[in-house]
Every structure is written in C-alpha cells, then in structure tokens.
C-alpha cells in the first residue's frame, strides 16, 4: 500500500495512527511543524497531541512556517498544550491566550525565523511534516507549502511524516528546495528572476530520523473568499493609478516589477485590478499565492509566480488540484528563507504591498499590535519585503467601525515597519508618495491625501501644535498616544467622547 507515496523500501512499516505518533512528543519538547499560511500543515498529529494533553497535561514549544489551518492552534491552546509559539499565528483562541499572557509568542520576520534553528539557539526535538511522498532515499516532497520545513527536517532529532493522499501527485516538481547552508560556507542565492530554479524537488532527509508515518486525507483549510467592497475598490484604484503614473514617468514599464502581496482583501483587489488594466507579463516574488494569482495566470496577464505556499479559496483549490499540470510551469514553491530573502527581494526590485493596522503621519507602520499592546497576527513577511523592496506600499482603510477608529494616527502605537522602510501609503481616500520627503513634508501629504475627513482637522491640529514645539519629527509626547488611550476607554478615537488626557 501507498507504494507511490512511500518509495523507500521498508518504510511502510512505520505507518501508524496519529495518536501513536503523537505519543512520541513528550512534555517540554520543541516541536517543529510544516505549515505556512494554513497550507501544507499537520492535519492529524498536532490535533492528536492536543487530545493527549487534554487527558494528561503536557506542553510544547511549537514552531511552524507561519499560520496553521483547521483551528489546530486553537485546539492546542484549549488543551493547554502550548508553552511558546513562533513565528506567526492567526488563530482567535491562541491570540487571546497570547494577549492574556498564558502562551508566550515570538513574533518573528518569517524570512529569518529559520535562523534561531540553523544557528542552534533552538533545537527541535521532533518535526512533523506533511508530505506528498517520500523518495527512495528518504527525502520528502512537501505539499502545498514549503515554509521552514527543510530547516526543520535538517535540524530535528526525529521526524514524523503525514502523507496526505488527497494531494495529487501532479504537484511533484513544483517545489524548489535550496539551502544556503551555515557560516562560514553560506552560499549565494543565485536567483535573478522570479522563475529561476536553483534547487531540488525534495527536501533531503536522513531516513533514520523518520520514526512514524501517518496517512491523512484532509485538505487544507480554504482561504476566505474576499468580495471587493467600495473601500478595497478605492484603495486598489488609487494604487493602480499610481502604477500607471509611474509607467508614464518612465520609472516602470507596464510589466512593473515582481510583485509581492500580503494576504487579505485589499491585496486581492489590487491584483484582480490588473486583469482589466494595460499591465502584462507580470510576475510575482511573494510569500503566498492566492486566488488572484491563478486568475491572472488564466487571464494571460501573469507569466510566473514564486512563493512559499498556495492558500486559496475552496473553488480555486479544486480548480488547481484537478488541473495542476496547467499551472505548474508558471509557479514555484520555495523555502521561506528564500521566498523572503533580503538578497533576492532587493536584487529583483520587488514591489511589495502589505496591509497595515495603522500608520502615523510620518509613515511609521504598525502591522501587529492593536492599541500598541494586543497582538493581532504577527509581522509575518511584511518587513522582509518592505525593508528591501524597490517600492514598499502599505494599505489600510482610513477609518473603520463607523468612524470610531482612524487608521491614520499621530503616532503609531507600535512600530514594525519604520518610516525608513515605507515608500507609499494608501487608504480609500488616497495615496501618499513619501519617497524623498522629510518628516514634515510627509505629515502634510499623508494628512491631506490619506486621512478620513472625520479626522483630518484633528490630525492637522496635532501636527501644527507639535511643529510649533519643534523637532525633526514633531510630536507632543503627552498627546501622541492619546487617541489610542481614548479608544481604549471610550471605544472611539473621536474627541467628542474624550475622557482621557
């Protein structure tokens, strides 16, 4: 059985139940699991471990590529099974535990999250890897994501493989596994275009480390289908108009440059916008491939897309999996330290588009913390891209919750992407091109182009009063965070309901 999927002879004897495999995971262990933006994650063993922890308490430190699907983080959290979690998550139950302090969370740049392991600061005891198949030599072909799996496989003491038989074998060949190695023999990453292939189709593995194989057939959690609404349509419109302007100015061609786009409805709306526009021969050098990528490939607008995972809606997933050979020549899946590598992003001149929780009048971006304290998801790859992009774009709605929240604030309550790394900010009201502008110039442009009119005068008043006080980046320290404090107390940033400061 499973000869097509377990090619190494003798290894079929390792097939066991998820519960059995999970029992190899002991209290206090560091467990590293495949999974990136809900794709290619552990479907069985982590949940089985949660079940064991419910009856007999045990806790792990859990490392992944990025977020897990199927509510696995929530199930583990409810079972009290997580001591520390890194480098990213999107689960409401886990988020709550992180914010109350009962689970420790390490919010890391996704492109650097393999470093602590490569450099032996953290050593995984067990890796759990979802696989398409195991080769004769024991090497593992992953499924819909690569993430940190190659690092986990190299560094973990033991490996549990989840063979997912629902994933078609036609995925074989889409992966491009490459390791830079470690100092002093760290290699150049010789990628010079989104489509450059530099590695192998499987992750090298010492077969002796594989201790259990579990068969699964659950598909990835689907991404939500993001309907375009008026706001996302406006944001996308401003950005597409800006690209057209740059083409007219001769700074870009209508091929643009390799695109990166964060997950979410705005990013999707921007990409969908390319379907009707004059842009062609587009490429992506990104983290995640979403529905819009495949729609652009189908429309003949996108030539090639590179990423670390495929995270799509249910209908798109079906379309893809039943027809993978059609898409395979146009896409590649890489380890996240390659998809998010500073080196490649700068070399290719990526245009990065990510969503901000809020930005301030000087262009500092908060990607992670609501009100400066509560973790939303994590910095993800936003700064991997923004820091080295040719053009670093951040988008957000100008205001939300019926105007109670302004996403353009005097001072960002937490800073993940500093003013130094932000070129363009966009809201549904407009776009501000910050390139070449000093802080006082930036403030004027951001307030007049991007703020919701509800908050424009408040922002202007703040900026003028701060400017009278002076400084390269004028601020009134007593007021800088008062909007957030007000929001915390009254549920709105608007002054009418002021009860703080």
């Amino acid at each position: 059985m499973y000869e097509e999927r377990i090619k190494r002879s003798g290894m079929q004897g390792l097939i066991t139940s998820a519960a059995n495999a999970a029992s190899f995971i002991k209290d206090g262990m560091v467990v590293a699991s495949s999974g990136f933006t809900k794709a290619g994650d552990s479907k069985a063993v982590l949940k089985a471990f949660a079940a064991l922890a419910t009856t007999s308490p045990r806790k792990i430190t859990l490392l992944t590529g990025a977020s897990l699907g199927h509510g696995t983080d929530g199930t583990l959290t409810e079972a009290g099974a997580v001591h520390k979690r890194m480098p990213f998550q999107v689960d409401p139950v886990l988020r709550h535990a992180i914010n109350e302090g009962s689970v420790l969370f390490l919010d890391q740049h996704l492109g650097e999250s393999a470093e602590l392991i490569n450099e032996n600061i953290i050593r995984p005891d067990v890796a759990i890897i979802e696989a398409l198949l195991i080769e004769e030599d024991g090497s593992i072909v992953p499924t819909t994501s690569v993430g940190n799996t190659a690092t986990f496989a190299a560094k973990a003491e033991k490996i549990i493989v989840e063979i997912n038989v629902s994933v078609p074998l036609s995925l074989y060949g889409v992966h491009d596994i490459f390791s830079t190695g470690v100092w002093p023999d760290r290699k150049i990453i010789p990628i010079t275009a989104a489509g450059t292939r530099i590695g192998t189709s499987a992750i090298p593995v010492d077969p002796e480390k594989i201790i259990a194989i579990v068969i699964t057939e659950t598909i990835d959690s689907p991404a939500a289908i993001n309907e375009r609404d008026d706001k996302t349509r406006s944001i996308a419109g401003h950005l597409l108009q800006f690209f057209e302007h740059e083409v007219k100015k001769g700074r870009l061609t209508n091929q643009l440059r390799p695109l990166q786009s964060g997950i979410g409805k705005v990013a999707n709306a921007v990409l969908e916008g390319f379907i009707d526009g004059d842009f062609e021969h587009l490429t992506m050098y990104s983290e995640v491939l979403q529905d819009s990528t495949f729609n652009l490939i189908d429309a003949g607008k996108m030539d090639f897309a590179s990423a670390s995972s495929i995270t799509v809606s249910q209908p798109c997933y079906t379309r893809l999996m039943t027809n993978f050979e059609r898409y395979k020549p146009h896409i590649v899946l890489r380890p996240q330290d390659i998809s998010n590598a500073a080196e490649v992003i700068r070399r290719l001149g990526v245009i990065s588009i990510n969503t901000a929780i809020e930005f301030d009048i000087y262009g500092n971006v908060n990607s992670t913390h609501i009100g400066g304290t509560k973790m939303m998801n994590g910095i993800g790859g936003s700064n991997d891209f923004a820091r080295n992009a040719y053009l670093s774009v951040f988008v957000t709605q100008a205001s939300s919750k019926n105007g109670a929240i302004s996403h353009v604030v005097p001072m960002a309550s937490h800073i993940d992407n500093s003013e130094h790394d932000v070129d363009i900010v966009v809201t549904d009201f407009g776009l501000a091109d910050l390139r070449g502008l000093a802080p006082r110039e930036r403030a004027k442009t951001i307030i007049s182009n991007c703020a919701d009119p509800l908050y424009k005068d408040l922002l202007k008043d703040y900026f003028l009063a701060a400017s009278r006080k002076g400084g390269h980046t004028p601020h009134l320290l007593e007021e800088a965070l008062s909007w957030h404090a007000r929001m915390d107390i009254t549920g709105s940033m608007q002054k009418e309901t002021n009860s703080f400061a």
Copy 2:
C-alpha cells in the same frame, strides 16, 4: 603639472579655483558630494559655494555618502545654502536647523541611500568628488572613502573633481568599485568573505561630464580620540564575556564572525578589548574603519577589514598615510551599497555592534531622536546591519547626566531598530540576550540585567502594572512616554521631580 594625478590628456586645462567651480552650482540644484563619516569629503568647493550664498542667496539639496567633516554642513547652513539634506549628518549647526524645521532632512538607511538616485527619483545636477587621481580614461580613484560616489558619478549631469594632493598615491588599489546595475539586470554581489574583491580600482566616469578640477591639500577632519572610561569599559567587558560564553557553547569559534561596529567610544572599547583576548583571525565587514581596526591589524589579531571609509584620529591618520603599503593588503574600501548590502551582511553572518540613544523594556531601539522628536545624527547604517546580522547588538550607558536620563525606558520614544531586529542589548550594568524570548520574558531580562538600579523599581512597576492590563506587549499608553515628557519639563526622568502625568 599634476601629471601623476591627472592622467587624462587635456584635462589639466580644467583646473580652476574653488570659487570658480562653485559658480557652476545654481540655485535649486541637487548637489551630490563625496564624503562618508568625514572621510574623503569635499574640502573646497562646498565651502566656496557657501561663501557665494552668503553674498547672493542660493540654496541646494545636498546628498552625500554620510557625514561631512570640517564643519562644512555648518558653514553651508549658516550661509542659508541648504534646502534639503540627506542621508546623514553629525553637525551641531545643521542639527539645530533640522530640528527647528529650517532645513529639511531625509534620514535614510545608508545602504539604500543610492536607491532614489539609481531609480531616477532624485537626479543630481552636479557631483563633487574628492579624488586621488583621474585615470587616462577619465575614471576617478577616490581617497579615504567611497560612499555613494560611484552612483553620483554615474547619475550626475556634471562633475567637479577635487584632487587632494595631500593623500598619498599609495592608496591606489585599496578601493573595490562594483555596481549592481539596475533592474531588470541587477547583478548578484559575489562577496563570500570580508576580503573578496569583486570590482575595479577606479570609478567609471564619462570624461565629458567633468567640468572643473580643483586642487586641494586639506586632510580629513580627525576622529575624536575616545579614552576608555569606566562605563565603556564595563559595556565592553560584558560583551567580550558574552562572546567567550558563545565560544564555549560552540556557537562561535574564537575567530567569531565578521564584525561591524558603529562609530564611538563603546564600539572602540569593544574592539580594543580584543587585543588582549583569546580571539584571533578576526575580520570586519563594516562601514567605517577606526583606530581600533588598525591597532588590531598591528597586533596581529585582525586579518582583514572591509568598509566604506577610513575615519581615524590624527596620530592614526599619520601612521596610516606614511605607511599605507603595510595596511593595504588587509583592507578594502567599497561603495556603501556594497559595504552595507543586506545580501552580504546576511551571507557573512555579521556580528553588528551599534550604539542606541535608548532602548525599551521590549528591545525596541531608538537610534536617532532625542525625546522622540529631536534628530541627533540619523539612522546611519545601524539597521542595514542589525536587520541582517547574525547577531545584532545595541549598547548604551544605562543612565546619564547624573542619573537624570535612563537609557532603558518603558517605550522607546522613536523606533529605528525594532524588537524584531535586536538580539543583544548591553549597558554598563549588564547584558540581555533576547534571542528566543517573548516580550514579557524580554522585559524581565532587560530590566534586571541592564537598567540602572536608580530606575529598576520604576521600570518593574511599569511592567507589572502594564502586565496586569494585559496584551502581548503590555503597555500603559498614558504612561508609556511620560518619562520623556517629564524629562522635557523637569530635566529628569526621575519621579521625585514629577510634574507631568
């Protein structure tokens, strides 16, 4: 005359006075000048321009590699000759003008400051380049720095050369000029060790663009001699002890990894500390070479040092210039987009050591703004290195001005290097290794290891109260910046003198 220095035939006719050359610079122009950390800067033409501006007003946008020496920025500012300045400065007169808003300043990552020019966002009208000599083909050999000069030479409409006859011809060959080119043909930077040479000894120049040559003989402004005091000695001691610990743990060898060190007394003290230690075959991949580098070469402890400039004290300068052949095999000067390249810094696994103005209990670093508003110098290369380093270290004294200022604060008043990019923080009281720690763990470690005992209880109280309120990164928004506000009003962060909040 000057046949040795002006090898291109016919070009000697371009020799003229500084005043004459400066008259080519018109009101409103963008002027790009050589100069990096006070080395290899324009000694004559910019000052002559300032003199012209005094009698007949004119203003320029001034771009450099990094800081200029000889008070040139101050002279230009006093003459009202600067509209906008980028990417870095250290001049008290200019700093004052920036902070009162009369000169606009663009504080940029030094490693990325050539990007706006390469991508035609800003176009220099005139470049002023200090040169050792001009080759037969018109290409220019720079002096004690390379900085952004290769980009300026390629992109400026016209070039004015300052031949500095005080710089010995023995410098010839120390430079390694390499351009990555621009998208879509951007090249890999094939550096795999501090000492890899990849380029040419001179900067390619279209000789038609050279409109004037000025002869100078002023040497670079000397760096201050930094005497080690008790505090810098303590900080250096903690860091050296940490390196020894890492060697014992097997994570480093006694060769360490290529070192980067910011300018200043602490960095110098750390490097000097290596002279007596067990470390050997050290290398540097840094921005600036300081006295300590040459002392380590002389002591046989350092094999090779790569940077973009040489900025040393007067005695060290003399020693170097009279004996350059001795040092030349051990050093190389590169363009700042190569010395500070993300790609190379990550590949080589650099250990970066920079000074912070302050850091907060979660490890966010302020490198630039006093009290969140007043520009000190600029971010410089700190984040180029910290963002991609193997180990990113920030040092500062725990407190200063007789305890009036704590450099460990609840929330950094400005953030240049975020928690994501900071591995180790050190003060004279101790070192905190933040690798693998979640925010709440970091706060405990930083407060107990790094804070001045004067402020320890205040920080603990803040952290405990904030933790009770909750959040992944606990903060009390109303108090987070109150220390700085208090400092602003009372001249001290200590609570006894509280008159704010």
